[in-house]
Structure formats: structure tokens, C-alpha cells
């Protein structure tokens, strides 16, 4: 996990947890006040309790998603569902996107999202790609800040692409974009795509996607750069017993600056 990313997200996530906690507290204290005044009706108290339970679960859900991302774990190649893994990350990123005025569009077009892979690492890659995409759009007009997350089936593979409307990647950088500390970011702390490349590699055993990063992106957005990695076919022994059609590639298209 890119820990700098967590730093960026801390404020948003704290907000996401404080919201239900604040509601729980206000509800509990309202109930207390009603009981104190002798004005508590059973119906109202029951409503309050139901809301408290719902908000508690809501806070718990944020923490569950977060823990899944942050826990140390062995890399496992297991059957997983791509879309629910992605949706969890996007839910975590939503408040941060909102804070930055970025619209996250998800187009989960793959009909069969079963995959053999490591869900957590895939989530980490997505988180890094989306955060980078948002960084790349700081100069983009607020109404135009969109990140499009797409999944699609490509033959025997699943393709994941992240496209933004940011500044794009200079053609000169296409060969080095996976190296450490290669970045188009002006800020000194940026560590480059490399910060997400290792995890892409772990999941995907990266080899360059046949298409160069500068090739026209599949997405209609003005993404001019693409970060690509391809997951080679799984060895036969890793295939799930049923029908192994979904192991394919995890591929990230992204603009980066």
C-alpha cells in the first residue's frame, strides 16, 4: 500500500467515520434527554435505536474496507470477484473524490467478473491509479474532472482501465513510466508510477502491454497516457476447477503527469 496515499485519504476517511459516529452520539443523547423529560415514546425510542444500529454498521463497513487494504498479508491467488473488490475501493475513495470535485464514473462492463488473483493488491493498484488520476487533474476545470474506471472482457482476459482528463503523459516518458521515482508531478514527494508498479507486478507479473502507453485510449476521455501491465496466463494448476476463462490480464490505463 502506498502509505502517502493513506495520508491523503485520512481526512476523508475520518469524515466518513465521524459522520455515523456523530449521528450515533446525537441519537443516544436525544434519547437520554427524552427519557429525562419523561417524553420518550416507545415508537420514537425504537426508531432511534434502529438508526443507531444502522449507523454503527455504516461505520463498521468503512473500517472493514480500510482494514482489508491495510493489513499485511501473503499474496494469494484465489478466486475473487473483480467488481466487488473495485467497488470497495471506490467507496473508500468517494469522499476524497468529492472533496476534490472529481466525479468517479464506473463502467463495469465485464459480464463475468470472476478472477483468479489477489483482491487486496488489485485494490491497492486501483487506489493508486485513481489517486494519481485525481492528482493529474488539479489543473483541469472543476466541471471536467472525471475519472472513468472501466472493466471489460478481452477474449480470455479481464481488462481494467482507469482514464482521467488530466495532463497526460509525455511521449518521452512512456518507456520509463514504470521505473522508480519517474514522475511528472512537480511536488518533490511524488514517487512516480513505480509506487503502484510493484504491486501491479506482483499481481500481474508485468510484461508490457502490447500497445504503447501513448496509443489512443479505449475510453472516450482525454486520457493521453496509459499505464499498462498484463497478466500472463495462469499456469494450468492455478486454474479454478470449474472453467478458467477469467484469469486474464489486469490492465491499467491512466494518465499521469
Amino acid at each position: 500500500m502506498r502509505f502517502a496515499a493513506m495520508g491523503e485519504l485520512t481526512a476523508s476517511i475520518a469524515h466518513e467515520i465521524n459522520q455515523p459516529l456523530g449521528a450515533i452520539l446525537a441519537n443516544a443523547e436525544a434519547a437520554e434527554l427524552l427519557l429525562q423529560n419523561g417524553k420518550a415514546g416507545t415508537g420514537q425510542l425504537r426508531e432511534i435505536l434502529a438508526d443507531i444500529r444502522r449507523d454503527d454498521l455504516r461505520a463498521h463497513e468503512v473500517i472493514r474496507r480500510l482494514r482489508a487494504l491495510l493489513e499485511k498479508h501473503e499474496v494469494r491467488h484465489e478466486p475473487m470477484r473483480l467488481h466487488s473488490a473495485l467497488a470497495d475501493v471506490l467507496a473508500l475513495l468517494a469522499p476524497e473524490a468529492e472533496r476534490r470535485g472529481v466525479t468517479l464514473e464506473q463502467h463495469f462492463d465485464a459480464l463475468d467478473d470472476r478472477l483468479l488473483g489477489d483482491a487486496v493488491q488489485l485494490q491497492q493498484v486501483l487506489m493508486n491509479l485513481v489517486l494519481n488520476a485525481m492528482d493529474a487533474m488539479e489543473q483541469t476545470a472543476p466541471g471536467d474532472r472525471r475519472v472513468r474506471i472501466t472493466t471489460a472482457e478481452r477474449g480470455d482476459a479481464l481488462a481494467l482501465s482507469v482514464a482521467d482528463r488530466g495532463c497526460g503523459i509525455d511521449a518521452a516518458m512512456h518507456t520509463t513510466i514504470f521505473d522508480s521515482f519517474v514522475t511528472t508531478k512537480a511536488r518533490a514527494w511524488a514517487s512516480g508510477c513505480r509506487s503502484c508498479a510493484p504491486s501491479s507486478r506482483l499481481i500481474t507479473d508485468t510484461s508490457p502491454w502490447p500497445r504503447s502507453p501513448g496509443a489512443a485510449p479505449a475510453s472516450p476521455s482525454r486520457c493521453r497516457g496509459a499505464l499498462a501491465s498484463r497478466r500472463p496466463n495462469q499456469p494450468a494448476r492455478c486454474r479454478p476447477p470449474s472453467k478458467a476463462r477469467h484469469e486474464g490480464s489486469a490492465r491499467g490505463d491512466r494518465a499521469h503527469r
Binding site: 465521524n18 459522520q19 449521528a23 452520539l25 434527554l33 427524552l34 423529560n37 438508526d51
Partner: protein, 160 residues
């Protein structure tokens, strides 16, 4: 519980459960709670000029709490305002307080703290509110005078 003279607290918060919970709490404390899911909702639905106290969430989709505070100020509506924020960042709190907010609280907020902030905001506003009301009545009466009566009034004032 809500007597006819209950003071109105306008709650503007985009989070549904927070809004409902705050309304319950303030009602239980004897206020008349009115809720709005956005700054726009408030501008459309609140009385003009709004009275009472404003409990305002800082971060909302669309115009945020600071934007609403600014619009009210431009329109000459002086509504004592308490900000509530899920992430208390210093820059926003400074802006809010400089623009006249009477308090800036971070969620989760304890009932005691919240109710005290609302009470203090209303109390600090009370003398100003009386003065505003007096001016409003005077202006209203003045507008009922005809041209001749206005001339007489001017002469009387100048002769004093």
C-alpha cells in the same frame, strides 16, 4: 413540548442520519428543529428573512456551509450560525469565524457542547435581534407615510 414561542434551529446537513439525529436532539431540548439537506434547500424553504439559529454542516456537495453563510451575509440576513464539521480543518474554521460564525464544532459533538453553542449563539444575537426588529418596524411604518407626511417628519427631525 414545542410551545408556540419555541426558537427555530435550522439544521443544514447533507448526511441523512446526522440531520435526523440532530433534529431529534434539538427538539428534545425544546427547540423547533427544521432540516435541510443542502444549502439550496435552505434558501428555497426557509422563511425570508430566516429567524432563529443556523446549525450548518461545513462540507456538503454543491455549495458548502461557507458559501451559504456568505449568501446570507450578502442578503443582509443576520442569522447566528454554529458550524459543524466532520473534519475540522483550521483554514475553514478561521474563515467561518471571521465571517461571523459564533462557533465551530467538530463531529462527533456531545450534546452538552452543541446545546451550549446554540444557546450562546442565540444569546449573543438577542440584543442585535431586538435592534434589527426595531429598525424593521420603523422602516415599515415609514413606508406607510405619504409624501406630505414624510416632509413633515423631516421638518420635525430637523427642527429638533
Amino acid at each position: 413540548m414545542k410551545d408556540q414561542r419555541a426558537v427555530i434551529v435550522h439544521i443544514v446537513d447533507d448526511d441523512d442520519s446526522m440531520r435526523v439525529a440532530l433534529a431529534r436532539l434539538l427538539s428534545a431540548a425544546g427547540y423547533e428543529a427544521r432540516t435541510y439537506a443542502s444549502a439550496g434547500d435552505f434558501l428555497i424553504a426557509a422563511d425570508e428573512p430566516p429567524s432563529g439559529c443556523l446549525l450548518l454542516d461545513l462540507h456538503m456537495p454543491g455549495p458548502d456551509g461557507l458559501a451559504l453563510q456568505e449568501v446570507l451575509r450578502r442578503r443582509g440576513h443576520h442569522l447566528p450560525t454554529v458550524f459543524l464539521s466532520g473534519r475540522g480543518d483550521i483554514a475553514s474554521s478561521v474563515r467561518a469565524l471571521k465571517a461571523g460564525a459564533s462557533d465551530f464544532l467538530t463531529k462527533p459533538v456531545q450534546a452538552g457542547v452543541l446545546l451550549e453553542a446554540v444557546r450562546a449563539a442565540l444569546e449573543a444575537d438577542a440584543p442585535l435581534r431586538a435592534e434589527r426588529e426595531r429598525r424593521r418596524l420603523l422602516l415599515q411604518r415609514h413606508s406607510t407615510l405619504n409624501e406630505r407626511e414624510r416632509v413633515v417628519l423631516r421638518e420635525v427631525v430637523q427642527a429638533r
